[in-house]
């Protein structure tokens, strides 16, 4: 309805705008999910590796 009126006045079809908004949201939210999970995984692995190394050092020392 309004989309066709706006299309005729040079705004382009609504699908461009709706697609751009949801596409951008998918990229931003997707990046937030992936980066958060990668960060958690990386630091958890690092902390556990250091704990294991500490435990190994203690065992070797005693």
């Amino acid at each position: 309805m309004m989309g066709s009126v706006m299309g005729a006045t040079g705004f382009g079809p609504p699908i461009y705008y709706v697609g751009a908004a949801y596409g951008l949201a998918a990229i931003v939210i997707g990046a937030a999910i992936v980066l958060s999970l990668l960060e958690l995984s990386a630091w958890a692995r690092r902390a556990r590796a250091l704990e294991r190394a500490d435990a190994a050092d203690d065992a070797a020392g005693s």
């Binding site: 989309g3 709706v18 908004a21 951008l24 949201a25 937030a32 958060s36 690092r46 902390a47 250091l50």
Partner: protein, 241 residues
């Protein structure tokens, strides 16, 4: 309950299942909201298909403010009680809030072009949301610029508390000033002014994205706790060597 979770060991024990529960809730509610937004809600009488953008824009705006309330509360807790976990939570929430503030501005701009005829207007609501986004960026930049962890946490917390002043301005700007932005239609005293066909996908989107935000905030706080633990162990090893 919250004071109990302030203990990092206890937080790590309970936060994993909690993050999974909120993540699962988001995984159910968000696709449901999208389905309703695209296939159940009809084109709006005045805005046509463009109104569908609001199902992502309005929840993003809510989360940008919700995130800043969380940032402020965590910062206050850190300043008063010196809970390191509160500082970790504040630092974890800031990029998420910034992401949703950015989405609010971007999707609002995409919606504004065909409906208002402009990508941007210096309206009180838009300007105050931009200030909120800048507070998030300022907080993250300040935290990143100071090497001393204690000093960085304290300076960041003070900046976050100063930024709280902006929240009522964002919320009530549409009532205090004559703005192009429409007044509140869901979060207001009394019943929402929106038709049920639009209200249902909007509320589902609010709930789904809020669950996702909480899940990600927990995940990022857990990452911060692991990071502190790894850095402390590394320092201890270096001191021995």
């Amino acid at each position: 309950m919250l004071s109990g979770l302030a203990n990092p060991e206890r937080f790590m024990r309970y936060s994993g299942p909690l993050a999974i529960a909120f993540g699962a809730l988001a995984a159910v509610l968000t696709p449901w909201a999208l389905w309703d937004a695209f296939f159940v809600a009809p084109p709006e009488a005045d805005q046509g298909q463009f109104a569908r953008i609001l199902f992502i824009h309005a929840p993003s705006a809510w989360l940008a403010m919700f995130g800043y309330v969380g940032l402020g509360a965590a910062s206050f807790t850190f300043l008063v009680w010196r809970h390191l976990l509160a500082d970790a939570a504040a630092r974890a929430v800031a990029p998420l809030g910034a992401a949703f503030a950015f989405l609010t501005l971007a999707t609002g701009s995409i919606w504004g072009r065909p409906t208002w005829g402009a990508w941007w207007v210096w309206d009180a609501r838009l300007a105050s949301m931009l200030v909120l986004f800048l507070f998030y960026l300022g907080y993250m930049a300040l935290r990143a610029s100071l090497d001393d962890e204690r000093q960085s946490a304290r300076a960041g917390a003070i900046l976050a508390l100063v930024g709280l002043v902006n929240l009522p301005i964002v919320k009530f700007s549409v009532e205090w000033w004559a703005t192009l932005h429409q007044p509140a239609s869901v979060m207001r005293l009394g019943r929402p002014t929106m038709d049920a066909a639009f209200l249902q996908p909007l509320l589902l989107s609010f709930a789904g994205l809020t669950a996702l935000f909480i899940a990600l905030a927990i995940v990022r706080t857990r990452a911060a706790v692991y990071r502190r633990r790894a850095e402390a162990l590394q320092r201890a090893r270096e001191a021995v060597a």
